[in-house]
């Protein structure tokens, strides 16, 4: 008999109209890192939410260390030593890291008074022990995503978790942070903790995991040992067909500059200067990728270009006409399209039907409206066409955007932006959280746009993506473009160092040394 810490047997979970998990089995060995792999909407998060007590399964059995248990709510899960780091962080933004960690199991003195000193001390000890550096007294809204994630992991450890579920932890991290996370995971397993890791990144699975369970459309497909498999086989298992990883593309054929940025300076909402005299240009027919660690001014840069944020100084030109500090509407009309980083916050009106989301910037133009009166006929006709062209999987154009999966929401946004035939297409993290199938489609789209002679500005924290898709890479650090490199002339390590602020020479030297 194997030594399983977690066994989920024949789990079935239904949602109205859909079976999210159908007789799925998952067995996790003590001290292993077990990957859970599947397309968007395959049912991974659902299965984990069942394990964590957020959902009750219709059928099936859960055993923890061999004992049959009923996990009715997260408290029970916590007591059984199961902790979960959710895909969307469960942190209270105005609270400090320490407050977030202790929330729900606070150390108290008399009178219900929270002993925050004691809590901070315990957190310090924990973070030292597992190598998770955090600032316990910083407010969550002020810290980086990476630190937020470490706080999430500490939260589970603080509650004495022995099994930690990580739902797509790397989707939001920079390459450096991913490396850190991987070493953290290794530390954890050394201390006897088991990890269930959900990720779409097959490379990561190959690097850190011991075994992987693949699910497809709610069904458990197989569990395999990582050392007995490879990336291509895993992808095939997951999608049900062979997947092409290396994005096919011909060399770029850059023409005139479309976007020219001179000495741009932008402040963030807290009045801190985030873009500090940035220069950049993007030509027609090329994809320029901006590589950089989150928080180096990328968001402010995009917002300044698209008119969502005022710039303090400098100039932004589109087709040699200045668009500095124009309104978002004017910027859009001058030929800029923008796939926003946060699709829920900016990209969509979740309560509007897909069709109405597709005309979000063009509703006031013909044929979608005439004399300020909307023509729903044209809107829906247009939507049907784009849904077809871009393979957006939705029951109908009348379906609310909220009801679509992340991948399909993203496809709808891309359809909308690309369809306007912009001169400049800004794509910020366009594949965040999407499965390999969806990523493939989106990358292909970006390259097609390039080939149609558009300028594409790609901002991504994922080096793979930047390296695969861009024709030219601009490295952004501390509000400036610190280096420009060709993807074929660089490697991940060099880029990583540049992104961390090394000079080009040093980076090249170091990267070379390591080789």
């Amino acid at each position: 008999m194997e030594n399983y810490v977690i066994e989920m047997l024949n789990i079935r979970k239904e949602f109205p109209g859909i079976v999210a998990n159908n007789n799925i089995n998952l067995q996790v060995k003590n001290g292993e890192i077990h990957a859970l792999l599947g397309e968007n909407g395959a049912g991974k998060s659902t299965l984990m939410n069942v394990l964590f007590g957020l959902y009750q399964p219709e059928k099936g059995e859960i055993r923890v260390r061999g004992e049959k248990v009923k996990i009715t709510d997260p408290n029970v899960a916590n007591r059984l030593g199961i902790g979960m780091v959710h895909q969307h962080f469960m942190l209270v933004e105005p609270f400090t890291v320490a407050q977030n960690i202790i929330l729900g199991s606070e150390p108290t003195k008399g009178g219900g008074f929270v002993d925050i000193k004691k809590a901070e001390k315990e957190i310090k000890e924990l973070s030292d022990r597992y190598g998770l550096s955090v600032d316990p007294s910083a407010k969550v809204r002020d810290i980086s995503v990476g630190m937020q994630q470490r706080a999430e992991i500490l939260k589970t450890l603080y509650r004495g978790a022995e099994v930690i579920i990580l739902d797509e932890p790397t989707a939001v991290l920079t390459p450096q942070e991913i490396l850190e996370l991987i070493s953290i995971m290794r530390n954890l397993t050394k201390e006897g903790i088991s990890i269930i890791l959900i990720t779409h990144k097959l490379k990561e699975i190959m690097e850190v995991c011991d075994r992987v369970t693949v699910i497809r459309k709610g069904e458990g497909i197989d569990t395999v040992n990582v050392k007995d498999t490879n990336v291509d086989d895993l992808a095939a298992l997951m999608v049900g067909r062979q997947v092409n990883f290396k994005t096919e593309k011909t060399p770029a054929n850059p023409k005139d500059p479309i976007l020219t940025i001179n000495n741009l300076q932008v402040k963030d909402s807290r009045q801190a200067m985030m873009v500090k005299g940035l220069n950049l240009d993007v030509r027609a027919g090329e994809i320029v990728g901006i590589a950089g660690i989150d928080g180096n001014g990328q968001s402010e840069l995009i917002e300044a270009i698209t008119g969502l944020r005022k710039s303090e100084a400098g100039e932004i030109k589109l087709n040699s006409k200045t668009i500095t500090n124009l309104s978002p509407r004017k910027v859009t009309e001058s030929g800029v399209a923008h796939i926003p980083q946060d699709r829920h916050k900016f990209g969509l009106v979740l309560d509007y039907p897909i069709a109405e989301n597709i005309v979000l910037q063009t509703y006031y133009q013909k044929p979608f409206s005439k004399n300020k009166i909307l023509s729903f006929k044209s809107i829906y006709k247009h939507a049907e066409k784009l849904i077809e062209d871009f393979d957006v999987r939705t029951p109908s154009p009348r379906t609310k955007a909220r009801a679509l999966s992340g991948g399909n929401q993203q496809k709808a946004i891309i359809a909308r932006e690309v369809d306007r035939s912009p001169d400049l297409l800004i794509a910020a993290q366009p594949t965040r959280g999407l499965d390999v199938g969806a990523i493939e489609t989106i990358h292909r789209r970006l390259i097609e746009e390039r080939d149609k002679g558009r300028a594409v500005l790609l901002i991504s924290f994922e080096l793979d993506e930047v390296m695969n898709v861009s024709d030219r890479i601009a490295v952004m650090f501390d509000g400036q473009i610190v280096a420009e490199v060709k993807p074929e002339e660089t490697n991940e390590q060099e880029l990583g160092l540049l992104m961390a602020g090394s000079s080009k020479e040093k980076a090249r030297q170091k990267a070379g040394d390591n080789k």
């Binding site: 509407r329 900016f346 509007y352």
Partner: protein, 348 residues
């Protein structure tokens, strides 16, 4: 699962039913006969042409204040200030009615326009403060209500009368009330305002659902970030939403000024037309047709209530309880959804 459209109709009906049920239980508990009570209510609301006329008349300002609040809600704003906007609208309409001498075809629209303008101005203050300074509209509109109450009282005393507590009567040419119509409804106070209110209900429906303005306003209401991203001016839309909402409430006031009363008097307290508008809007699910139906129900209940004490001895406050419970059940409609679902399951 039952489709939403059906549920959206079933739930209010069921809520109304449950509200009356609670009212009946209360009557029983205090030794009244609910059948007598409700038939008195029904008599009072629909017993004769006169009563029907009164019910319609009572609904008119409620349609408009309900539309006002629904309009703001759809744009993500809570306009508790309809009460104050009703006051200034009433005043403005009466002012036009007594001050000018014009043919009816101009006088009436002018009075309504003036009321709309006054209400709009009153709502502009919270709108602009919200848009530019981020001040919560609820506090400002509450304050504006009091300012409206005292200001109109003051103006009635100083501008519309010589220290009196009532304005003069408006000119006949400004009046929405015509003897012919009133005679048809047994000399009730009914006036042509019901047409005005229907026109504006259609306007609100069309504006919100069919025009690019409405598309923008709703987008801002649902997700201001996305609205800004897609090039809409969130600030302008907030102000626009408040101003239109205020104008509608102002017209509600005009219905009292040039319809029901034909004058304005100093008020010792709020009219509750604005506050009732909140309930009407919510019962009508913030849609124009819903608001019209909800206002009519409220009008019937409020007019019917007057007949309850003389005909059945039941205190008229019982109607308040019934209305409150209807709103409560609409609010807790999830409960009704659960009930219906359970019912369905058992059926299967």
């Amino acid at each position: 699962m039952m489709d939403n459209k059906k549920l959206n109709i079933i739930i209010p009906i069921f809520s109304v039913f449950l509200g009356f049920l609670v009212g009946a239980i209360v009557m029983l508990a205090f030794g009244y006969n609910p059948i007598e009570g409700y038939s008195a209510l029904f008599q009072g609301a629909f017993g004769s042409m006169y009563n029907i006329g009164e019910t319609i008349r009572r609904s008119i300002p409620l349609v408009l204040s309900g539309l006002a609040i629904a309009f703001a809600f759809r744009s993500g704003l809570f306009n508790i200030g309809a009460e104050g906007q009703v006051f200034v609208g009433w005043f403005a309409a009466v002012w036009v009615g007594v001050t000018f001498d014009l043919p009816a075809i101009i006088h009436i629209p002018f009075a309504i326009l003036a009321a709309a303008f006054a209400g709009a101005v009153w709502a502009f203050v919270p709108g602009i403060l919200k848009a530019t300074r981020g001040v919560h509209e609820v506090v400002v509109t509450i304050m504006m209500n009091y300012i409206a109450l005292h200001t109109t009282n003051y103006l009635i005393r100083t501008l519309l009368s010589d220290g009196g507590s009532q304005s003069g009567r408006i000119a006949n040419s400004a009046s929405l009330a015509t003897p012919g119509l009133q005679e048809m409804f047994g000399y009730s106070q009914i006036h042509w305002g019901f047409i005005v209110s229907i026109i504006f209900a259609v306007f609100v429906w069309f504006f919100l659902e069919k025009t690019t303005y409405g598309y923008e306003l709703r987008a801002v209401g649902f997700n201001p970030h996305a609205a800004k991203y897609s090039g809409m001016s969130v600030k302008r839309n907030i102000v626009l939403a408040m101003v239109i909402s205020g104008a509608l409430a102002g017209i509600g006031g005009a219905m009292e000024g040039i319809g029901t009363f034909g004058y304005m008097y100093t008020h010792g307290a709020f009219t509750n037309l604005g506050f009732d508008g909140i309930a009407v809007a919510l019962l009508g699910a913030n849609t124009a047709p819903g608001v019209v139906l909800a206002a009519f129900l409220f009008g019937a209940l409020k007019v019917g209530a007057l007949s309850m004490p003389p005909l059945s001895g039941v205190p008229s406050e019982l109607v308040e309880i019934v209305i409150a419970m209807i709103i409560f059940f609409v609010a807790a409609s999830y409960m009704i959804r659960l009930l219906i679902m359970r019912f369905k399951k058992e059926e299967n």
